[in-house]
Amino acid sequence: MRAIGSLDWRGGAEPGREAVILREARVVDPRAGIDAPHDVVVREGRVAELAAPGSAELPEAELIEAKDLLVTPAFFDPHVHLRTPGREDEEDIETGTRAAAAGGYCGIVAMANTDPPVDNPAAVESLRERARAEAAIPTGFAATLTRGMRGEELTDATELAQVGAVALSDDGLPVCSAGVMRRALQYQALADLPIALHEEDPALSGAGVMHEGRVSARLGLAGIPSVSESTLIERDLALAAYEGARVHIQHLSAAESVAAIERAKGAGVSVTCEATPHHLTLTDEAVMSLDARFKMNPPLRAESDRQALIAALRSGVIDCVATDHAPHSQDEKEVPFEQAAMGVTGLETAFAALYTDLVEPGLLELGTLIERLGAGAAALGFEPPTLVPGAEANLVLIDLEREWEAGADGWESRSRNSCFAGRTLRGRVLVTIAAGRVAYRQRSFAMGVAG
């Protein structure tokens, strides 16, 4: 597994020289079994020491008073849309990674369904170069699994791997042909890249715009049945098992999908999967408002689906949280629901939304949430963030008591199509350190430090 800091970003050219002491923090790292007060010392890009509270001293270090605050491993998002190239009016590498840093992320992987899609080595190289100039945190780029995302011919996977694509995915679209999917899985033995799959049978989704169920019946909106997702997942799990390939299933939304993955994991299939904060916290009831901020694909589903996702996140059947951060312009959202673009932003609210809606009501342990927010790294072949001394310093300082209204102070993202906008959330990211460098400071906290 590679270090997150080996991905491209502005801070990657030389090793971090910054030294920081987070004094008297509550340190929680479930991966390392740590939950105790410490002084966290960051030096030369690494977690140098977890010292006894109040004891650490390092003359050149910036001192951050972290009493009553939480320090945990930072988060890794395996599923982000940076809209570059093509829709820089909605997001670009700089704004998207700034949003990620503000959400506590130390690394992200950008999907390839841009305009044009990232389906060739030159496109990957050009994005990597831009990330080295613009990205606030380490950023990886997926390339498409098939040329032009048409689902017909495979992309040049070995060459894409050589130029540094970190995964293959036609995310946004399924690979409809079982034959093409099988060839892609066979070829993985040579190219050795993770394959991330958007699972949806378009013959079943049809013209659907929301979950098929009670709410779609009431609103007269065409439904996307949950079996549209689960049947294609079952197909690809069967193919992966047959070919001995490994697959990462994106944005699970339905209880049937959870059951399929659980069975496959039990049978030894090499599969990881993710769920989004919005599928874990909202249901199709939100669509009763006909507000296009609640329109995304896969759609928000029923409460029973949400409960299945939460249980699977708790048990580990769902490996990680991914935001599927999907920025859209206001023009694409301020239209009737059926015409609106699918997708919601998520990087800046992921932790707070999940902490508020799952941890506070007692549905999920804080430690489990932190672990799942970082586990997306391992799913795509990166060392997950940890606070074990000597590890690359990927960590986040959080005020769990802080309440804030999502979006009230604006967004780091260029888009504002958040399904949490206007909600009062609890838990605010104050500082994000990525690969040893301070990548983000919350404005009011930064002022507090200065004053």
Partner: protein
């Protein structure tokens, strides 16, 4: 009531109030001069972004009978056809400071969006497959005129419920007025969880239709065959067409129009003695007058921001005075 976007904007008392108002307009309709000055000096925009004959005609005539100034915009020759967004279209029309916008649109929630963009009262005249509240009110009006009360009546809605905004609004309205509603149609054309969503019984066969006091047939569009919702029109006719054999002598027949004669209804029942279809259209005018009155001259409407129009119409103004 600020807007009429969904039938759920009204409760039973609100529906009754509109029924009574419609009755008084029906009384005016029997006079030589059928026009009243109630909305003189007020501007109503009728924005129809989808083909419609009866609804647009009915609303427009209702506005004229109330002496409002009417601006009528149709999709076929509007800037929407040229790619202007709904929001920009509404902003343009709002510049004329209309008191009400009556909108028909092909997408669910369009009227609700418009309500957020304008100071005008918005009437949903059909939004996609979502709702058609004025149709629901005129359906209640026609039944009330014939039956007195809907309390305890059994109403069967037969046909393509999946694609029907009429079914969604009218089923809710009938239930609010105390009726029991059964949805009957092919399994492919009844939405999943419809019983729960709409609070109705669901069946796929006409057996048991004889229990119904009212049979409400929906329009069956030919495109549904192409989309393989149905094997053939012949099968639909065989299983669901309401004809003289299936319709009992004491059962009332309704339809939102336009009727496909020989498909959902046999020709003989359309014009038969049980048919309320013509009464639905006739009463629709008075119900739509009542809706516009309720929104623009009814007592509950906040007056803020309306005075600028200079149209001082008292809520207590007698409505029966000829213009």
């Amino acid at each position: 009531m600020r807007h009429l976007l969904s039938i759920e904007d009204l409760d039973r008392a609100g529906i009754e109030r509109i029924m009574e108002r419609a009755d008084s307009f029906a009384e005016v309709g029997r006079r030589d001069i059928k026009k009243v000055p109630t909305l003189r000096g007020r501007t109503i925009v009728s924005l129809f972004l989808e083909a419609s004959t009866r609804t647009s005609t009915s609303f427009e005539l209702a506005a004229k009978r109330l002496s409002a100034d009417l601006v009528s915009v149709k999709a076929a020759n509007s800037s929407v056809e040229k790619g202007e967004s709904l929001r920009d279209t509404v902003a343009t029309l709002s510049a004329y400071e209309p008191e009400a916008i009556v909108i028909r649109a092909p997408h669910a929630g369009a009227a609700q969006l418009v309500a957020g963009w304008t100071d005008a009262a918005v009437v949903n005249a059909g939004d996609g497959k979502h709702e058609h509240p004025s149709q629901a009110l005129l359906d209640v009006y026609a039944l009330r005129a014939r039956l007195g009360s809907l309390e305890g009546k059994r109403i069967w809605i037969v046909g393509d419920v999946l694609h029907s905004r009429v079914a969604r609004s009218s089923a809710q309205a009938f239930r609010m007025m105390g009726a029991e509603v059964t949805l009957c149609g092919p399994p492919t054309l009844i939405p999943r969880e419809a019983a729960d969503a709409l609070g109705c019984e669901v069946t796929h066969r006409l057996e048991g239709l004889d229990e119904a006091d009212v049979v409400y047939a929906l329009r069956m569009q030919r495109e549904r065959m192409e989309e393989s919702y149905l094997p053939s029109l012949r099968e639909y006719v065989a299983n669901y067409q309401i004809d003289a054999r299936r319709l009992g002598p004491r059962q009332l027949l309704m339809h939102p129009g336009p009727v496909n004669r020989g498909v959902e209804l046999a020709p003989e029942v359309v014009d038969g003695p049980n048919s309320l279809i013509a009464e639905q259209v006739r009463g629709g005018l008075f119900v739509r007058m009542a809706i516009l009155y309720e929104l623009l001259a009814g007592g509950e409407r906040p007056r803020a921001g309306r005075e600028r129009a200079g149209a001082q119409v008292s809520a207590q103004a007698p409505i029966g005075e000829p213009a």
